[in-house]
Symmetry: C2
Subunit: 191 residues, 2 copies
DNA sequence: GTCTATACCAAGATAGAC
DNA sequence: GTCTATCTTGGTATAGAC
């Protein structure tokens, strides 16, 4: 048996270059219209060469979304709790429509239990839900959040609100989704 | 000039048969995995014959969603206002996972302004938003809804909540999405 | 019964995943 | 390169208005 040696430094760098390029191409052409062919051309690789790094098109897009989560976390390190983090992310989404389209489409498609990225979203939703519920409990203890609201319910609803606003923002929304999200949070503080 | 004669009785019947069959096949196999070939076979047509009626696969799926909206409206005629209608639809969605997958995926994909069904969703969202805002105003006037909530904001947020719950329901949700939706409505009544 | 738009099919062009 | 998917082209057969 060959023992796994892990990626070489060159491979790591190429991976990052591919992720950056994928982000850029997706932002311009959208998710559905971005082919592996086009992506390969953008980084100077053959299609086979590109897929060597990520296995399938889907795993590549999953990697792009993981990279975005990571980037958001480090962009908003100073935000006090995960409810605030979600609000900041919703606001930031307004400036990256290509990523919003990727996230919306991909999270809907991966709803199929046989989709390669299904488990990624199961884990991601569970983690966010748990951390939002913690934040809701902390805010309730501090007296800055509706005491009658069930934390788990609030957590699930806030995620749904964020996801749903990302979809609606692709159509003609009369207001800024981020302002809307903040307004709903205000309602929950006062009820 | 060729004057349009409209569809023959046979064509009208076949159209309905196709929509019914599409609903069933999509409910079983999901949206992404349903091919025009499979759909054509299910109604005893060639692919070209199938596409003769709807032009493209996308227009066929749009027709399926229009038929669903129509079916929901007649299923819930006795529901007093459109907020109640949305709540009833969310509850009903729990029994038709294939349609939920179709709706989630398709509404995300059609976010692309060049998608053939983009305008359908623009109109649909605008209509639902307007009717939900009317319902919120009526409930506020009747004293059964938070007076501090802006009706337009509530309308957009309720749609987002419904859409987002449809996505999350495809993963491991700890609670029933319909109960969750009702709980959020309760919070809005008391605030 | 004539006429032509509608209903439908066979084959293939095109394009993307892998 | 191979396989699979959508959609077009170019046709024939039939419904149904007149």
């Amino acid at each position: 048996m060959a023992t796994s040696r892990g990626p070489y430094a060159k491979g790591v760098a190429k991976r990052e270059e591919i992720l950056r390029a994928a982000l850029e191409v997706i932002a311009r052409h959208g998710y559905r219209k971005t082919s592996t062919r086009e992506l390969a051309a953008a980084v100077g690789l053959s299609e086979a060469g590109l897929l060597h790094y990520f296995g399938t098109k889907e795993q590549l897009f999953e990697a792009v979304l993981r990279a975005r989560d990571e980037a958001d976390r480090s962009r908003f390190v100073d935000v006090p709790d995960s409810i605030g983090l979600l609000a900041a992310a919703v606001r930031h989404n307004g400036s990256v429509p290509g990523l919003v389209e990727l996230y919306s489409t991909f999270s809907a498609e991966a709803g199929d239990p046989e989709h390669k990225s299904h488990d990624y979203f199961v884990d991601r939703y569970a983690a966010i839900r748990s951390s939002l519920a913690d934040a809701a409990r902390a805010r309730q203890a501090a007296g800055t959040f509706s005491p009658s609201a069930d934390p788990e319910t609030v957590a699930t609803a806030l995620i749904a609100l964020s996801d749903g606003l990302q979809i609606q923002s692709q159509y003609d929304l009369p207001a800024d989704p981020a302002d809307l999200f903040d307004n709903v949070l205000d309602l929950l503080r006062d009820s």
